[in-house]
Each structure stands twice: as structure tokens, then as C-alpha cells.
């Protein structure tokens, strides 16, 4: 497997603006995804930027409704264009997906980028055989016979660790267990050797032992195909296990962005502290209660002015009202570690060191 990015599909012409093409394999710049509704404008993603190289894994974490899944669907171009306002840039291997036509993005889907869904039972068609569903994805992007595609399905099922793949290829999804269905889903996603693999909470619907196997499988697939992986999750254990870099999202924005060691061991944003404090620990003292973040995520129609996290932030008042008026920008504190917080760098490092670190 070559590690260099493959050239664009012959049928798809690159858009005119190439001069700005960035170096990173995936480069999301100032992505905004808004949905006009009867109740108002839902700002599901509001100014998100990150980059990702092949062979690397980026985790997007945050509570429900923070815009994680919307981000992944935007990259895949799966939002209904009529009901979605998108702006910004999504550069995938030199192509801006936002300015590309729907047909161009469709041709890339499944071939260059693939999606693994949260609940494999509802994400697989109940009336088609598992093997046929995998073969369908493969045949769509490769001109091969049905028999060849079937062989490929069997090969993929074997690759993802389904026992007796030549028999199981003719099973229907309901005949698979939950873990096997997720394996089949992964087989379908990697059928065309996609260079970008997006996994939207791939282990949430699975039990713990199967979770570990699926994560291991995804790492194997990454080694095999040298893909870039975006993993969307609220499970920080999964992040620690697979991610190289982490984006912590809140109310459609990145609160903290850096490599996994920075975000886990030197977190500087109070929201990240809150997320880390909400994790159950086996080695912890039973008397120490979990510390959930107080309050609920904000409505994406009425995002609080200033820092969106300020109503729930235990340290917000230290900023003398600034937190209620000014939106904090994502700024680099150390190279490659970005935080969007009004607290002075020294102050928030001191708070983490003296007050927070001990409780995690």
C-alpha cells in the first residue's frame, strides 16, 4: 500500500482554486454548518478548523449536540443541501469539498472517504445480504464482475475477522451479532481502500470486550491502508486508546485542540477538565464521587454570548465579565496545543495544577 495520496479519480476534475491547496491531507478551515428551522437558525458547527494527515487519527470529543456528527456528515457531503447552509473550506487531498459539485463529492464518497456508523444494525439494510451490501460499495467504484466483487466481500469479511466468511457472506444483517455487524460495517467502509475513514461513535452500541476488538481492528485497517481516521466519540477511554490528536468541541466550536498527551495530561480548558472529571475510574476511591459538569449543553439556536461555556464554567467569573461578551479565540499556548479560553495562560495552568489535577 502506497503512502502517497492517490491521484484524483479520473472522472472528477479538481476545482479551479488549487493555488490555495494546503499541505495537510485533510484541512478543515472555518467550517460553519447552519440549519435554518422554524424555531431559528441552528448553528450546529460554527467556525471549526483542524488538519489531519494520512496514517493519523483525530478524535472529536464533546457532549451530545456539540456538533461532532454534523462535522463528519459535512465532510462526507451527506447534509441535505436545501436545508443546510455550509461555509468554510474542507480540503481533502487538494480538493475543496465545499465548492465541489454534489456529483463530485458523491464520486469521492465510499471511494476516497468512508463512514462507519454508530449503530450497525440500523445502518445495514435489513433486506440485503451482508456480502451484497459490501459488494455494492465495491462495485460502485471498481469496474468488476459480480463474482469478483463477491470474492472481495469474502476477503474483506475475513480481513475484519468474521469466521467462515465464505458462508457468512450470504447472511443477512440480523443473523450477525452486534460486534460482527460492526465488523461488516467496517469491511464495507474499507472495501475501496479509502484514505479517509470517519467513524461516528463506532463502539457506542457494542459491549466493552467487543469495543476493544473493534478499535484494534480499526487500527489494523489504518496500518493496512494508511488511512487518516476521524473518530467521533464521547468516550475518553476510546480517545486515549486510538487518537493521535484531539478536538474538544462545545456548542459547534473547538474549545481545545492538540495532541492526545497535551489534552489528556496538560488540559487547559475548563470544559476539558469537566469531561475528564466525568470519567469513571476503576482505580479511584469509591468515596470520590464522579464530578459531572453542571448544567446542560446550550441550545444551538441561542448560543450564550461571549464564551459559549461560561454559564457552566466554574472559573468564568474570574474574567470580570469578559466571558459574557467576548468570544474567546482558539489560540496556541504551546506549539500544536490550542485553547479557546479567556483565563490567562498562567492562571489556567495554575488552576489545573493546584485544583483540578488531583481530582482526576
Amino acid at each position: 500500500m502506497s503512502s502517497t495520496p492517490e491521484p484524483l479519480d479520473g472522472g472528477v476534475s479538481a476545482p479551479a482554486v488549487v493555488s490555495e491547496a494546503p499541505h495537510a491531507f485533510l484541512d478543515v478551515r472555518d467550517l460553519r454548518v447552519h440549519f435554518p428551522t422554524d424555531d431559528g437558525l441552528v448553528k450546529a458547527v460554527d467556525g471549526l478548523s483542524f488538519t489531519l494527515d494520512r496514517g493519523k487519527t483525530l478524535a472529536i470529543v464533546g457532549e451530545s449536540g456539540s456538533g461532532k456528527s454534523v462535522t463528519s456528515l459535512s465532510i462526507m457531503g451527506l447534509h441535505n443541501k436545501k436545508r443546510t447552509r455550509m461555509s468554510g473550506q474542507i480540503w481533502l487531498d487538494g480538493t475543496d469539498l465545499i465548492t465541489s459539485s454534489a456529483e463530485q463529492v458523491r464520486a469521492l464518497r465510499g471511494e476516497k472517504m468512508a463512514l462507519i456508523f454508530q449503530d450497525p444494525l440500523s445502518a445495514l439494510h435489513p433486506f440485503y445480504k451482508v456480502g451484497d451490501q459490501i459488494a455494492e460499495a465495491y462495485r460502485l467504484h471498481n469496474k468488476v464482475s459480480k463474482a469478483k466483487a463477491r470474492e472481495r466481500s469474502i476477503e474483506l469479511l475475513r480481513l475484519v475477522g468474521i469466521p467462515e466468511p465464505d458462508r457468512r457472506v450470504d447472511d443477512y444483517p440480523h443473523q450477525f451479532s452486534g460486534g460482527m455487524r460492526q465488523r461488516a460495517m467496517i469491511a464495507m467502509a474499507v472495501s475501496c481502500n479509502p484514505s479517509l475513514l470517519i467513524a461516528d461513535e463506532p463502539t457506542t452500541a457494542l459491549d466493552v470486550t467487543v469495543q476493544a476488538q473493534i478499535l484494534e481492528l480499526m487500527k489494523e485497517m489504518q496500518r493496512e491502508f494508511n488511512s487518516a481516521i476521524i473518530i467521533i466519540t464521547h468516550d475518553l477511554g476510546v480517545v486515549a486508546d486510538v487518537a493521535d490528536e484531539v478536538v474538544v468541541m462545545y456548542a459547534g466550536r473547538a474549545m481545545e485542540y492538540g495532541d492526545v498527551a497535551d489534552v489528556f495530561y496538560r488540559p487547559e480548558h475548563p470544559y476539558t477538565w469537566g469531561l475528564l472529571g466525568s470519567v469513571t475510574r476503576l482505580d479511584g476511591d469509591r468515596a470520590e464521587r464522579l464530578q459531572p459538569i453542571p448544567g446542560n449543553p446550550p441550545s444551538l439556536i441561542n448560543v450564550p454570548p461571549g464564551c459559549p461555556f461560561h454559564p457552566r464554567c466554574p472559573y468564568g467569573s474570574l474574567n470580570g465579565g469578559k466571558e459574557r461578551e467576548i468570544l474567546p479565540l482558539l489560540e496556541e499556548t504551546t506549539p500544536g496545543h490550542l485553547v479557546a479560553c479567556h483565563l490567562p495562560v498562567e492562571e489556567r495552568r495554575r488552576i489545573f495544577r493546584d485544583e483540578v489535577a488531583a481530582t482526576l
Binding site: 449503530d119 440500523s122 439494510h125 435489513p126 433486506f127
Partner: protein
């Protein structure tokens, strides 16, 4: 699969047997209890007691219920002899009280009307209803959708004797006489004439059902299009055409097939309003006439036939469903 089918057929035979028992009791024994003697109906106006007794004996009404029922049931399979010159060959459902014809032949001769009517209308309403439903679901709240659903509401609300008479008054008797002089012609006699004479009833009947099917298809499609596996299909990079027809419609059509089978089954024995409106003599009209003249053997025969159609449609639907939805267990 084979055992599943066999079990379903055995179940269906049992249901038919039960229906025959109940309807036989209902028509030949219950009137006696209520004081109305079928023999009197057969014998004609103001018969003397001696004539009634003779007729009772002739029809076997003086025998115990189970004996009568046994004669009736065995007659269906082996034929029956009511006396010299009154042999009723199998399958025998008795003779009409009114015209003395064998009931079986009466029904069989009217059956082509119902089959032609139901099958032709069904093909039209299925294509019409499903395509309108799909287009509506793909563009919900669009002008097409609103118009189609408005028409569908009219279709559901307007009875066949309204749309039928309207169509007749325009196309048969009215300004555009493209279908004058309607009368049923057998398919084997002249297929073109057969179709020409049936087009109006087909479309009027289909309008009613197409409206229902359009609404049903729309609802099913809207639900299916929001399923996760449709998103998966799109994520694979499938063109929208394939997403809609191969993935969404495949799921949405399954419950429609079920209802379709049952609708045809029911329609075969009870298209009475359509038959009446278009002056066609099918089973439904035969039943109405028989009820009006208290022709009990014919009523009984038609009831059994209608039940037979529904039961057979049920079996076909069950088998089709098991074939369409792999999650159905054959057990």
C-alpha cells in the same frame, strides 16, 4: 420453506371449513329457529303445509343439522343427487331456489367479470398509487405533493357510484363518447373489446385504491428515507436514483405488498358497488340479487367463494412476505 407453506395451507383449509360450517348453520338452521323456513322460500308464494313438508324432505331439511351439513360438504367434493333429473355434479353447492340453476355454475360464469375487474384495476392502482406516493415523498410539501395528496383525499372520499356515474355521464352517455355501450366481453372472446369495456370501471375503481396507496406509499417512503441504512447507502456513494429505488423503495414496498394481496382477495368477492354502477354481473351483484330474493344456496355459495379468495390471498401474502423480508422466520 416447504413446511411453512404446507402448514399455512392446512391452516387455511381449517378456516374455510369453519366458515362453511358457520355460514351453513347461519343460512339453513338459524332461519328455522327464528321461524322462517327455507323450504317455504323454495316452495314459492303461500304453499300448503303438504308442499312445504315435501320440499323440506326434498332439500333434506327434515334431517338433523349434522347430516344436512355432511351432505352439503360432501356434495362439494363428490356431487349430490336431489332426485331424478336433479343430479348435481361435483363441485356441488346446490341449486338456486329462484331459477333452479346449479349454484356453482352461476358463480363460475360470473367470476370472469370479477377477476377482470380486480386484476386490471389492481395493476393500474398499484402503478399509479406507488409512483405518486414515491414522487410525493421525495418532494414533501412541494406543489406536486400538495396536489397529489389533495387528489388522493378526493379519491378516498368519493364513492365509486359517484366517480363511476361521473365517468359514465362523460365518456359513455355524455359529451365525449369514447366508451359507448359498455358491456362485459370475455378476455378469451376478444381481448381488445374486453379491455375497452373495462377501462372506465378499472380507472374508477383504481382511483379509489390508488389514493389509498399513494398516501400509504408516501408515508412509508418518508419513514424509510430517514432510516440509517439510507444514509449508509448515500455514504457508499450510490447515486440518489439507486438510493431511492434499490434501498428505500425495497423497504417501503414490503407492507404495501401485504395490503395489496389482501385488497385483491377482498375485492374479488365484493366489487358490488362497481358492478352495480357499471351494470356488470359479477359475484357481488349475484349476491345482492340472491339476498334480495332470499336465494339461500346462492348466498351461501357466494359467501364461501368470497371467503375462499380472502383466505387464499392471505396465504399468498404470507408467503410473499416471508420471501420479501428475510427477518421473517418460517416457523
Amino acid at each position: 420453506m416447504f413446511r411453512y407453506v404446507v402448514r399455512r395451507i392446512i391452516g387455511a383449509i381449517f378456516v374455510l371449513w369453519l366458515i362453511s360450517l358457520i355460514t351453513f348453520w347461519l343460512f339453513f338452521t338459524l332461519p328455522n329457529i327464528l321461524g322462517a323456513n327455507p323450504a317455504v322460500l323454495f316452495a314459492g308464494r303461500s304453499p300448503s303445509p303438504a308442499v312445504v313438508a315435501a320440499v323440506s324432505h326434498h332439500l333434506g331439511l327434515d334431517q338433523p343439522f349434522w347430516t344436512q351439513y355432511w351432505h352439503f360438504l360432501s356434495g362439494i367434493f363428490t356431487g349430490r343427487n336431489f332426485g331424478p333429473g336433479q343430479e348435481c355434479s361435483a363441485p356441488c353447492l346446490g341449486f338456486s331456489f329462484i331459477n333452479g340453476q346449479p349454484v356453482w355454475q352461476e358463480i363460475i360464469s360470473d367470476l370472469p367479470v370479477d377477476i377482470s375487474l380486480a386484476i386490471g384495476a389492481a395493476v393500474i392502482w398499484l402503478i399509479w398509487g406507488v409512483s405518486v406516493g414515491v414522487i410525493s415523498a421525495l418532494r414533501p410539501r412541494s406543489a406536486f405533493d400538495r396536489l397529489a395528496m389533495g387528489v388522493a383525499l378526493a379519491g378516498v372520499s368519493l364513492p365509486i357510484y359517484f366517480t363511476g356515474l361521473l365517468a359514465l355521464s362523460i365518456f359513455t352517455f355524455g359529451p365525449i363518447k369514447i366508451f359507448p355501450n359498455l358491456h362485459f366481453v370475455g378476455f378469451t372472446d376478444n381481448p381488445i373489446s374486453w379491455a375497452r369495456n373495462l377501462i372506465l370501471p378499472w380507472f374508477c375503481l383504481a382511483f379509489l385504491y390508488a389514493a389509498l396507496y399513494a398516501r400509504l406509499t408516501r408515508a412509508q417512503m418518508l419513514e424509510t428515507m430517514s432510516e440509517d441504512y439510507i444514509r449508509t447507502a448515500r455514504a457508499k456513494g450510490l447515486p440518489e436514483r439507486k438510493v431511492v429505488f434499490k434501498h428505500a423503495l425495497r423497504s417501503a414496498i414490503t407492507p404495501i405488498v401485504t395490503i395489496f394481496g389482501l385488497d385483491i382477495g377482498i375485492l374479488l368477492g365484493s366489487a358490488v358497488l362497481t358492478e352495480q354502477t357499471f351494470s356488470m354481473t359479477g359475484i357481488g351483484r349475484l349476491a345482492i340479487q340472491a339476498i334480495g330474493s332470499r336465494d339461500l344456496p346462492v348466498v351461501l355459495g357466494v359467501t364461501l367463494f368470497a371467503a375462499f379468495f380472502v383466505v387464499v390471498a392471505n396465504i399468498i401474502v404470507d408467503i410473499a412476505y416471508a420471501y420479501l423480508d428475510p427477518r421473517v422466520q418460517y416457523s
